[in-house]
């Protein structure tokens, strides 16, 4: 009996080995067959994979992106083991300077509070930043708290304890969320903003799945997830008051509004969180995800391949981004990013890549 299993396994292995061998022969690369390696944030990984798949067919450039988390991405680009690193938490200009790194955003996402209350419609519950902070600090403990009732006349808020659910794993989502709370609620300063913080209350779920799992299973729970995840899973969100005093819902438009309204030209290294933007349509918890590259490229060809990959992605990849519920960068920002690439130079001191379009 064991022999059969062993034989079967051997046959499988042999088959898969043959499959692997025949693959590269079957798919003839159209032009160059360059390979670029990147590593980092898991949030944009599905999109980078999609872009890579499209471009592999079009240009033959193969992207090997390892979604190991922003921390890993930063470490690996510093160690120069990858051509680019990816991070959800932008590095500060001083740190970029010290490491000789260039940084640019690729796509926009955001964080959405999700709630589980009986008979609640998505967007029906209105929250302000300070109230959200009070809930996550554990100072507002019940759904029928006077402050919540005053803000939500006509919404049936039950006498139910609020269960706070946060991310247990370090993540750019938590970083954006806590940065927002820090920005809008002075009280949150005791906790601070980071990709992992000392949560004053509540339960930690692993990943977006873990958080939404806990929220779905607990009546009276409130948590936060990435916009793409909330959209694809149809989770009931709360609407938030933005800096202009408007109550907005998380949509592609409200994220775009936040990105378009920001003044990126005064942000060296594109170090900008799109939190609490002034635009009346802007979703308050918005942020971009970033790429890190060394300004001095040891191998000009590699740098050129990476930049032309993102250049092409900016030109042709918006539809793919929207399909996966990411928000493409506004055109003006794309132009600024392309202009910033002139700082990435090869050994000869010349920019490794000059965008032709736009």
């Amino acid at each position: 009996m064991y022999r059969k299993i062993v034989l079967g396994l051997a046959a499988c292995l042999a088959l898969s080995a043959c499959g692997q061998k025949s693959d590269p022969q079957g798919a003839a690369a159209p032009s160059s067959s360059a390979q670029i390696a990147g590593a980092g944030a898991s949030f944009p990984a599905p999109l980078y994979a999609k872009w890579a798949e499209t471009q592999k067919a079009e240009t033959g450039v193969a992207l090997n992106y390892q979604s190991i988390g922003s921390g890993g991405g930063i470490k690996q680009i510093k160690a120069k083991t990858v051509a680019f690193g990816a991070t959800d938490k932008p590095l500060k200009p001083e740190e970029l300077q010290a490491e000789g790194l260039a940084q640019f955003p690729t796509v926009i996402g955001g964080v959405v509070p999700i709630v589980n209350l009986p008979d609640l419609q998505p967007g029906q519950l209105k929250l302000t930043g300070p109230l959200l902070a009070d809930i996550f600090l554990g100072t507002i403990k019940k759904w029928n708290d006077p402050a919540l009732l005053a803000l939500n006349p006509g919404v049936k808020l039950p006498n139910l304890p609020i269960t706070v659910v946060h991310r247990s794993d370090g993540s750019g989502t938590s970083f954006l969320f806590t940065s927002y709370l820090t920005a809008v609620a002075p009280k949150w300063a005791s906790v601070g903003a980071s990709d992992a913080v000392k949560w004053p209350t509540g339960q930690g779920g692993k990943g977006n799945d873990g958080v939404s799992g806990y929220v779905k299973q607990t009546t009276g729970a409130i948590g936060y997830v990435e916009y793409a995840y909330a959209k694809q899973n149809g989770l009931p969100h709360a609407s938030l008051q933005n800096a202009a005093g408007q109550y907005v819902n998380p949509t592609a438009e409200s994220f775009s509004a936040a990105a378009a309204g920001a003044d990126w030209s005064k942000a060296p290294g594109f170090y900008l969180l799109l939190i609490d933007q002034k635009d009346p349509a802007a979703w308050p918890i918005t942020g971009a995800t970033f790429i890190l590259m060394h300004k001095a490229q040891a191998d000009a060809a590699t740098g050129k391949t990476v930049l032309s990959f993102f250049d092409r992605a900016f030109s042709t990849g918006d539809a793919a981004a929207s399909e996966l519920a990411y928000v493409p960068l506004p055109a003006a920002l794309k132009a600024q990013v392309r202009a910033s690439w002139s700082a990435i130079v090869g050994p000869d001191g010349k920019p490794v890549f000059t965008p032709t379009a736009q």
Binding site: S42, I68, G69, S70, G71, G72, I74, K75, K89, T163, S168, D169, G170, S171, G172, V191, G192, A193, S194, D195, A196, V197, K198, W199, G202, Q203, G204, G205, K206, G210, G213, Y214, Q217, T218, A221
Partner: protein, 323 residues
């Protein structure tokens, strides 16, 4: 191996073969030796690199790292006590739940099971060992936790007298995630290891020994209690410690179901964290030097705990063997 290699025979008929055998034997010896030392070197290397990686944390916090339960990545204050407590509590509870079941399964399979059922049950136990831990985690979060909340946690919480100690140790978020759920999932995960090893151990008892006991008129219970268990006691402790070792280091399943709150767990339904879950949660995004160092230091602490457990098991086995 040829006979010539085993028995040095100076017959001149096959000198070349004997010489080859001797040389081969020497090579074989070196191979085995290097295999063993390679393992030791790897183990030593892991300890050393953990110690080096975690050094900044030990240096900054000193003894506080082991006694403080404060874990604050923003203020950069790290203490391992909460995670260590969570690890020890969940692993011990898991062992407590798994042990009687594992004994029952093993004894049933060896002593009582009709031959027709022996195969299916035995295979089922082994299959349980083959399920990846992430699957246990998902199942725990999406299937077990809601059921547990509805049928176990809520009734207990609602029946607790207000103001009593019992109420205090049974408060928690009623969604089934917490210390107790994590321990139960862990118990299911280590069950097959203990049960399968225990069954193999019980099968090593010579049939004459058991049959003599039956021949003397013992009941099944008496045979198990007075003959089988004493016979395999040494090995059984080893099996239990293997299970405990796995429970201490289990990562994914626990991370999904334990609720992930730093600090000391306050009740059996409260959220907690273990060393492995904390590392799994935070290592990927630990960008600050001290944060990463503290997580590596946690790894070293887990290593030491596991080492102590195994050493204790060895000690127990040694003592038993001497008796």
């Amino acid at each position: 191996m040829t006979a010539a290699a085993d028995v040095p025979s100076p017959t001149p008929t096959a000198p070349s073969r004997s010489a080859f055998g001797a040389a081969f034997d020497k090579g074989f010896e070196i191979l085995c030796f290097s295999a063993a030392t390679f393992l030791l070197a790897a183990l030593g290397g892991i300890v050393v690199s953990l110690a080096i990686g975690g050094w900044p944390a030990f240096q900054t916090f000193g003894l506080n790292f082991f006694v403080s339960a404060e874990w604050d990545p923003v203020q950069e204050i790290y203490g391992a006590a909460g995670a260590v407590t969570g690890t020890l509590v969940t692993a011990s509870l898991a062992l407590l739940f798994a042990l009687p079941l594992a004994f029952g399964i093993a004894i049933f399979l060896v002593e009582l099971c009709p031959p027709l059922l022996r195969r299916p049950i035995g295979t089922a136990v082994e299959l349980l060992a083959g399920i990846p831990s992430i699957v246990y985690g998902m199942w725990g979060l999406f299937v077990f936790a809601p059921w547990f909340a509805k049928h176990v946690q809520m009734p207990i919480m609602m029946s607790a007298e207000p103001g009593t100690l019992w109420e205090k140790i049974t408060t928690g978020v009623p969604n089934g995630a917490g210390i107790l759920s994590a321990s139960i999932i862990l118990a299911i995960m280590i069950l097959p290891f203990i049960a399968a090893t225990m069954r193999e151990l019980l099968l090593t008892i010579p049939a004459q020994v058991r049959e003599s006991a039956y021949g003397l008129g013992s009941t099944t219970f008496e045979v198990v209690r007075k003959v089988s268990i004493p016979y395999v006691r040494t090995g059984a402790i080893g099996a239990i410690m293997l299970g405990l070792g796995r429970a201490l280091g289990e990562t994914m399943a626990v991370t999904f179901i334990i609720g992930n709150a730093h600090g000391f767990p306050t009740s059996i339904f409260a959220s907690g964290s273990t060393i492995a879950s904390t590392i799994a949660n935070e290592f990927a995004e630990a960008t600050e030097r001290l944060h990463a160092a503290s997580l590596i230091a946690l790894g070293l602490v887990l290593f030491l705990i596991t080492f102590v457990v195994l050493a204790l098991a060895r000690l127990l086995i040694g003592r038993q063997a001497n008796l």
